[in-house]
Point group: C2
């Protein structure tokens, strides 16, 4: 049951909530011991705040839940590859594992040759088509 696909579906549900708010549809969850301890979706328009990416909110929320700022035994599931800002935050958090749905060749951290914390495992391509489609359809509808 507790597969990467299972949690990515939860992240996609968050992206769907963002979509319904006319936000760029990106969502994530943070999991610790098979339990979702934080869930968030992009809220940059709603909050008028460029820092309100799903990952940023989830990192703050998970740290609050854990009572400590390091997310050492946690996994982030995010529908789209984190940007430079979010990769920097993930790096500071020392999170154990980051699971990415779709790649973001242009804005994502990987092509900028940035790395996360040395101990952070990175997995890409989980439910890639679904995670990619929701963003592509959103931008197509905006044209």
């Amino acid at each position: 049951m507790f597969t990467d696909e299972y949690y990515m579906k939860m992240a996609l549900q968050e992206a769907q909530i963002a979509l319904e708010k006319d936000e760029v549809p990106i969502g994530c969850v943070i999991v610790s011991n098979n339990r979702i301890i934080a869930r968030a979706h992009n809220l940059t328009e709603t909050l008028n705040d460029v820092t309100a990416h799903a990952e940023m909110q989830a990192i703050t929320s998970a740290a609050n839940f854990l009572g400590g700022k390091y997310l050492k035994d946690c996994t982030l599931y995010v529908t789209l590859e984190p940007c430079v800002m979010c990769s920097g935050a993930l790096s500071w958090s020392q999170i154990s594992k980051v699971v990415i749905g779709a790649r973001d060749e242009q804005r994502g951290f990987i092509n900028k040759h940035l790395s996360l914390h040395p101990k952070t495992e990175i997995i890409t391509g989980i439910m890639e088509n679904e995670c990619s489609s929701i963003v592509k359809e959103f931008f197509k509808s905006k044209r």
Copy 2:
């Protein structure tokens, strides 16, 4: 009166407040039309949150003040060179100008070959010694 040094002194006052809270002493202000519209200092320990860097708080605060997420006619004065996370946030904000006190060769964004928004002017070395000393003294006292 409204020189870069003037506003960097205000940022240093913020760093001093952080120091009094036993936080890594980094401070910043955001200025629009010669008026300080946001001021913040590092609060990562107090808030148990790796994202609570001075710049991140100031970006959110300035956008809130302006009622819009872009900081197009604003200048950030920060005592220490922004990290990867904060440079990413500044990039999204499209801020007009970033004035840096001391460089951070190891954690700063410049040596990672990251750029801010193409329209953002970057100035370094304003009150460099004071901005560098307060951080160096802090870490020396921790050893």
